[in-house]
Amino acid sequence: MGPSLPQLSDAEKARYEWQMWTPDVGEEGQRKLKAASVLVSRLGGVGGTVAYYLAAAGVGRLVLAHAGNVKPSDLNRQLLMTTDWLGRPRVESAERRLRELNPNVEIHTAAENLSSSNAAALAGEVDIVVDAAPLFSERFAMNQAAVAQNKPLVECAMYDLDAQLTTIIPGKTPCLSCLYPEDPPNWNREFPVFGAVSGMVASMAAVEVIKLITGIGEPLVGHMLWINLRTMDFRKLPIARRFGCEVCGEL
C-alpha cells in the first residue's frame, strides 16, 4: 500500500464499507479514491450525476465548473439542482447537494464554463477530467488541456434515448479532435433528453473514473460505447486515431 495515500477514518471506513468489498478495491482502493481529484464540466444531467456518484464514492477532491443560474428546464435531469434554488447559481446548488451527501469531499467550484482561457488551469488542478459539456468549443478546450497535460478524459454525451461514452488516454487512444476534426455544423445545444438517459451514461462515466483511479477492470479505451435505449442495443465500437490530428498527432 502506497505510504503517500491518505488514511481513512473509522467513519469513512463505515461509509465506504460496501464498495470496499468490491474485489481488488479494498481499503487501498478507497485510499486511492480519497487521494484523487477530478474536474467535471458541466453539472447538467450528465456532469451533475457524475459528480454525485464520485462524491458518493469518496473521490477526495472535485473541481466543478458550470456557469449560470438554475432554470426550470434544468430540473428534469440536473439532479444537483433543486426547485428552491431556481434563479440562483448552479454551482452553489451543486456544492450544497454534494456536501449534504458527503462532507468528506473537498469541493472547488468555478461559476464558469470551460474555454480556451480557463481549461488549462482547471485541468491542472486534477488527475482526471470528465467532459459533460454541450458545446463543442468547450469540449475541444477540455480535450486540448487534457492532451497537453497527459491526463485521462472521460467523454460522455447523449441525445434523445441515445448515449455515447469513451475514455481518452492521450497518445494512446483517439482524442476528441480525432473523432470530430472540426466544430460540427447543424449542432443545436438544446436537444431532447430524459434525466434517466443522461443519468444512465453519467453512471457509466463515473464507473470509468473509478476504474481509472483504482485500477480495477478495463477502462473503455480505444472504443466508443454507443447505446440506443429505444432498442436496448449496446454497441462497443472500435475507434481510431486520426492521422495528422492537430491536437494529439505529435504524441
Binding site: G45, A133, R189, T231
Partner: protein, 94 residues
Amino acid sequence: MKVTFQFEAQLRQVAGVNSFDVELPENVSLLTAIQHVSEEAGEALRERLLTAEKSVQPGIMLFVNELPVPSALTDNHRLDSGDVILLLPPISGG
C-alpha cells in the same frame, strides 16, 4: 447488391427510420453510397449528411460492419453486398 444503412440520434430523427436497405451497383464506394442515399432523401437529411462539396459532413462517425472508416477514406472504401453502414452524428453532454 444490397447494403443496410443504420442511423442514430439526430440522423434517425430526421430520416424517420433507424435502418433501411438500399440497392447499389457492385463495388460502389462508401462515399458514393452515402451520396446516393442523400439524393434519395429529403433536403433536411441531405444537409445533415453532405457538405456543399458532397463530402460527408465532418463529425459524422462512419462504421462499416462495426469497423471505423475515416471520413477522408470514404471514396476509397469499397462496399460488399450485405455490408451494414452505421452513421453516428455528433452528440454532446448537457
